[in-house]
């Protein structure tokens, strides 16, 4: 009798989180914080330095204003070139993505071996920074838009295939059951059951990748792949921050417009 009561008391909770969870949370917190402290040491981060730098930061930002509106006339042609590169790269990588993401999605491709191989390959591509891709392809193909496009294709393929295969893994598998139950083969099942479900994401991810490509081409310009990146580099070297700001504003509008289109398209097909 006494024993039972003791047990009851033991069970009676003292706090609303389990002691186990509390211990785990504390541990994780300590690890994260310790790593952070160590990295501030490694990266010589000093908060006072940062605070002291504030006035200068504002002063420098001040140099970006007012943007030089006239510079737009120079930005547009470069932007168009960037657009060409981004459009081609996005289109090609979007097409290339389809087989890759189907192979990489665990619920669609149940063959462990091909699945793992695809994932491994995609992971490798994704680890390579865009600037290295650009540099290597410029080394091979010489200066120009072509190496830039190839670099962007690789770069976006990694991102897109990953995003899409993750989405594929979250689709509603029930309709596929229904297709299979009525005797449809794999291709039919994908076409009728999978495609309609991921089409909106497919489109919006493609636009997202397009946006990333526009931004990545800023980096590509640095290594001679043309487009707005080249302008950015030049104007920074001339200390023409008003022109740089104009460039950024143009990029900003491009990003906003793409986002707007993307949300419109999503609304139209969701």
């Amino acid at each position: 009798m006494m024993n039972e009561k003791q047990m009851k008391e033991k069970v009676q909770p003292k706090s609303i989180t389990s002691p186990d969870l509390k211990r785990k949370t504390t541990l994780v917190f300590i690890v994260v914080a310790a790593l952070y402290l160590y990295s501030t040491y490694k990266t010589e981060s000093t908060l006072p330095e940062f605070i002291k730098s504030f006035p200068r930061m504002i002063e420098m930002f001040g140099g970006f204003f007012p943007p030089n509106l006239e510079y737009v006339s120079r930005v547009i042609p470069a932007l168009v070139e960037t657009f060409y590169m981004a459009i081609i790269a996005t289109t090609i990588s979007t097409l290339l993505t389809i087989p890759f993401c189907l192979l990489a999605a665990r619920n669609i491709n149940t063959n462990k071996i091909t699945n793992q191989i695809t994932r491994f390959f995609l992971n490798i591509i994704r680890t390579i920074p865009d600037i290295i891709l650009a540099v290597v392809f410029v080394g091979v193909f010489g200066i120009g838009a072509f190496p830039g496009i190839i670099a962007l294709i690789f770069f976006s393929l990694g991102i897109l295939a990953k995003l899409l295969s993750d989405t594929l893994e979250t689709i509603d598998m029930q309709p596929l059951d229904a297709m299979r139950a009525s005797g449809a083969n794999s291709l039919q099942t994908i076409w009728y059951g999978v495609v309609p479900q991921i089409l909106p994401q497919f489109v919006s991810f493609s636009l997202y990748v397009f946006e990333i490509n526009i931004r990545a081409s800023v980096v590509l310009g640095l290594v001679g792949a043309g487009g707005i990146g080249l302008l950015l580099d030049q104007q920074l070297k001339w200390f023409r921050y008003d022109n740089v700001m104009m460039l950024i504003i143009v990029i900003f509008f491009v990003v906003v417009i793409i986002e707007y289109i993307s949300s419109k398209i999503r609304e139209a097909i969701v």
Binding site: Y36, T43, E49, P129, I131, V135, V136, V140, L232
Partner: protein
């Protein structure tokens, strides 16, 4: 057996017009793009390319191990820059995200402003931030940390706000139904729903930042990017190969660790 056929689907002419216009516009864009882009195909498929190929690629695949030490050192620095930057961003992005999420404030204008602010931050190339921070806190990895932090804030803020927009508002309703106030609803109804995704995105961002910080070295903001630029300028492709190898291995390890952690989170 013959069956009656269904009526044809009705599409209004205005819709038809709209779709045709869009289709034509898209085709036009592609047409212009592919005809206007300046690519010299002959040049690309020339002996030169083959020469270059055999000059660059074999070296890339025979990494220069003598540089391993310094590459590794810079890579470690890169990882720490990314870590500190991503962590800062993952915290600053939280309030920004709530500001930008459509379902958190009654007034649409707040979320629109929030979204615009995040877009504006994202429009700034990392390199520009890096220059500003090198100028203000001096050259060194700290400038890189700040550049990464502010840039990631833009991206994470956007991702977070999408998470917030997708939460189960019924739970919020249930909290409201038992008399909880806004703050309490936030801590009991909203946070538990979003925290795992937030963490997961933050970790994902950390992975991305490891790659992103490779640009910072160009302006002296630390990290491996500097080695890349110098090696390429000197055409030391075997050193580039070494850098590539180290990046792939380190990032892959981080990927595995982080996907392991993320799996346990959700």
């Amino acid at each position: 057996m013959r069956y009656e056929l269904p009526p044809k689907k009705k599409i209004s002419t205005s819709k038809k017009l709209k779709y045709t216009t869009i289709a034509i516009a898209i085709i036009a864009i592609f047409f212009v793009t592919f005809t206007q882009i300046n690519i010299n195909w002959e040049r690309i498929f020339s002996d030169r390319t083959i020469n270059n190929f055999s000059r660059v690629i074999p070296q890339l695949f025979s990494p220069d191990w003598s540089t391993f030490g310094k590459v590794m050192e810079k890579m470690v620095e890169t990882v720490f820059i990314a870590y500190a930057g991503a962590l800062m961003a993952s915290i600053i992005a939280v309030p920004m995200a709530f500001l930008a999420a459509r379902n958190m404030f009654r007034f649409r204008i707040i979320s629109s402003l929030g979204k615009w602010l995040l877009d504006a931050v994202r429009a700034f190339p990392e390199l520009v931030f890096a220059i500003i921070f090198v100028a203000t806190v001096g050259p060194g990895p700290f400038a890189g940390v700040l550049a990464i932090a502010i840039n990631s804030t833009g991206m994470l803020g956007k991702l977070y706000s999408e998470v917030i927009e997708s939460i189960d508002m019924k739970v919020v309703e249930a909290m409201e139904a038992n008399g909880a106030n806004k703050t309490q609803v936030f801590f009991y109804g909203i946070l538990p729903q979003v925290i795992p995704e937030f963490l997961s995105y933050a970790i994902y961002r950390f992975e991305v930042d490891v790659r992103a910080s490779s640009v910072l070295g160009i302006v002296g903001a630390g990290g491996i990017g500097f080695l890349i630029t110098i090696a390429v300028a000197n055409r030391n492709w075997d050193e580039v190969g070494m850098i590539l190898l180290v990046i792939i291995i380190v990032v892959t390890i981080i990927d595995y660790i982080s996907s392991f952690i993320r799996k346990r989170l959700v």
